[in-house]
Structure formats: C-alpha cells, structure tokens
Amino acid sequence: MRCHDCSARRSVSDEGPDLMRAWLVDRWLALVPVTVVVTFLVWWWFTHDPNAIDLGNRFARPSFDTPLGTDELGRDLLTRIIAGAFITIGAATIALIATAIIGTLLGTLAAWRGGSAGTALMLATDSIVAVPEIVVALIAVSILGTNLTALMVAVIAAGWLPFARLSFEIVGRLMASDYVVAAQMTGVGPGRLITYTLLPNAARPLIAHAFLRFPGKLLLLSGLSFLGLGPQPPTAEWGAMLARGVDELERHPWVPLMPGLAIVVTGYAAASVGRRIEQPIIQRPTN
C-alpha cells in the first residue's frame, strides 16, 4: 500500500516537465492567435487614453471604433479594461502576496512555537473569522480613506486569516512529519530547517491556495467599490467600473458586462492555475 502512495507521488512530479512539453506542443498553434490578440491590445493601449472623455459618444455600442463600447462618460471600455488590468490585477496580486506573506508568517510562527502561542493565534483567528470580510474592510477604509492604498490595506487586513490557518495546519503537519523530526534529530538548526525543509514543502499548497483565493480578492475589491469604498473615479479599476456600471444593466448592458467578464475570466484563470498547482485535493477554503 505504501507503494501505491509512492507511485502516485512519483507520477505527479515526474510528469511535470513532460506535461509541460506536451502542453506546449499541443498548443503552440494556439499561441499564434494569442500573440495577435496581445499585439492588438498593446497597440490599442498605446493609441488610446483610458480617461479620454467624449460626452458626445456616451454609451456607444460595441463597434469597430470602440470594440467594447463606451461608458457613461464616453470613455472607451477596451482601453479602460486594459488599463484596469494593470490596476486590478496588480492591486489584487499585491494584496494577495501581502496577505499570503503575513498570514504564512504568523501561521508558521504559531505552528513552530506550538503550544499556547499556537492556540492563542488560532483562537484569535477563529473569532476574527466571525467578522465579515466586508466589515473589516469597511473599518479599514473608514480609517484610511477611500483610495487604492487604503483598499489594499483593507483587503490585506481582511485576508490574512485563511493563510494563517492554512499555514498553521500545513506547518503543524510538517513539524510532526518524520522528515522534519529526522532533520532535527540530525542537528539541523531552525534557519536551515525552515529554508530547506519547511518552506519548500509548504509552498505548493500555499501558492495553490493563493491562486484559488484570487477571484475572491477581485470580488472583494469590486464589492467595496459597490459600497462606494473602492478606488475613486476616474480610476479604471474593474471592480469600480463594474460597480458603477451595474446601474446600466438594463439600458446599456455592455457597460457592466465588459468589466464583469474581465473579472470572471481572470478569476477563472487564476483559480484554474491554482487547481493545477494544487493537483490532488482542493484545500478547504477557510473563510
């Protein structure tokens, strides 16, 4: 039965590079249209201004001139979505990385120290988990004001918990594993233990978790924008664009649809990458 485990493990990691190669060979043809689209987007981005207002051309339908239509100020939605990609994905990524680092550090520390420190941390997180994310963010924004930085602080403040819990669990499990005990038995000190043993083994589920959390971050950003707490106009942030455009759902559906699609597609893609990294089991997201 052990050998079942080992063969299963073997196949996963061995096939990595092969899979990659096969994937590339299979899809290199698909790269051609992708390149064309990317080139077009880059060109479009350089030739258009996301904040150029044209009140004479409000709510234009998608057309040749404005491939995704225009919004309530006559701004080109395609340009704004490209601009928003930098802001939204950037903000979500930075926020996510920060949450991941803070959460992982705390969780690892708690698991490392174990005992009452660990219990205390988990008790704290258990009760903070009971406070809705949006309310945490609401408080953070009300303290720091409504701007992108504040929003990111808010998202980070609300987001480190799941990572702390997850890394607590993972590192806790690792600490009890034979090979960590073995390393300690052979005299390895904390520094080298963390760098060579704990981190490499904890990284994968944590990274996967980060990717799986990505859509959630996008949604939180957007939800805060909806409540008027997001980045302020004219920032072309997707969540803000979507929140602002929801009013037009019936009259000019493409206005909310375009940023909405951008969020869904990005979230979907990130989650798929996360699943690919994670492979075997979806980690239970602890909210």
Binding site: S127, P132, I134, V135, S142, P215, L219, L242, G267, I282
Partner: protein, 297 residues
Amino acid sequence: MLLAFSFFAFLLPEFQGVDQARATLYARSEEAVPDQETLDAISEELGLDDPLLQRYGRYLGDVVTGDFGDSTISRTPVAPQVWRATVVSGTIVGLAIGLAVAIASVLGVVAAANENRWPDRVITAFSRVLVAVPIHVLTPLLVYVVALRLGLVPTSGWGTAKHLVLPVTALAIGPIALFSQVVRSEMLDTLEQPYIRTALAKGLRRRRVVWLHATRVSLVGVLTLGSLFVAGLLGGAVIAEVILGIPGLGRLLHDAVKASDVPMFQAGLLVAVTVGILVGLLSDALSRLLSPPERER
C-alpha cells in the same frame, strides 16, 4: 476576545479621526450648519467630554447589566434594533447556507459520480464561473429576471416568505458553486478509499455505494465548511440587503460604521462575533458527531 472587539469598536472613531459630534450632527441633519455651539451640545449629550477610558468603563458596566446603550444617531436603545436585524440576517444567511449545502452536495456528488463526463463538465464549468460572479451583479440580475420580467417574487423588501427568495438565492449561488467543487473533490477522494472497493466487492450497486457509502463520509466536510461561511455570507448580505432594501445586520453594521454610531456598531459587532464563535463551536460539535469514529493514535 469579545472584550477586545468591543474596545476596538469603542476606539473606532479615534482611529477614523472622526469628530463624533460632527458625524452625529451630519447623520441627524445632513446639511445643518456645524457651528461650535451645536457641536458642544451634542458632545455633552453623548457624554464625549469624559476621558475615553471612563466612557468605556461606563459602557462595560452597562453591558454587564444587559444595557447595550442608545444609538448616538437615533437615541433609541440599540438592543432591539440589533436583535431584529440579527433575526432577519440570520434567517437569510441560515437559509442560504442550508440551501447551498443541500444543492452543492447533490451537484458535487453527481459531478464526482460522473467524473469527466458531461454532467461533471457542466457542473464544474458553471461552478467555476459562478464563483467569480460578484453578488452586486447577481442581485440586480436576479431582480430583473426573476422579479421584474417573470414577476415571480417581489423585487425588494422584507416580510413574507416570498421576500426571502431573492436574497437567499443571491447569497446561496456563490457558496453553491464553491461547495459543489469541494464536495466533488472530497467525493473523488472518498471514492478512492479501500472501503468503497469493499462495498463494491460485496456486489452492491454503484448508485448505493456513491449515494450512501461515499456521501456519508464526504458530506461531513461541507457541513462544517458551511458554518465557516456564515461570516462570509454576512458580508455578502451587506450588499444584498442594501440592494433589496432588507433591514438586516449586514446593513446595520455598514450604516453604523459610516455614521460612526459607536453603540450600534459595538452591539452589531458583538453579535456577529458571538454568533460566529457559537456557530464555529456548533460546527465542531456537529462534525465530531457526524464524522466516523476515529481510531485513537
């Protein structure tokens, strides 16, 4: 823990750098002239002139005797309002969680039982997309389609069973999408277990094995996961309650923070945290009750 939260709530206006008297005046009478006399009068009314700790001590003393104070904005006791809002949100969130767990269980099991065949692909694709649809898009869409176009339920408001449909649906869809993926992967895990093979080797029909033997183990996880989501849904409820005009706890917290209504916020936060902790304990107990007895190690 609760104490820490209440103290934090108490300090909130300090953190916010908000002049509480001005905020109160603004909330009561939006465009009133904020002259000093008025602000002084409000400070006095709210007892803001005493040192912070003294005020906090007084507050704690009151709470111990079951008095959660009066809202600074409306000057009425917060307890009944928070209670009413909690009942409202509790109903919505509870139903949404229940619905999500039930539907997601069925979907997840169906998907796992048909791994990589069309039912699985459809369910998985839908759930992956729906996970990324924000509630403030979902809710107006539901209002438009279900309430306005089809006229099946009221567009907004609170009171009858029909009013529950929209908020519960709006809140449940995200968790359904998420939970069904969790159930699916847990089911796939379980279906690999040796005891499933034993069950099949007994000659049992696959349907019975999937729906009885595998679910008995796989669904415990999603039950506890559901309880972890209570707080998450309360957050979603903020938005749904604003859009659908529902007097719930999420909206109450939102309004209280924006208006710096400290007593209201404190009471709401206390309730939210208490409920969250209780639900956590309950779900622990539930999962201990439901999960198969474990071998002692």
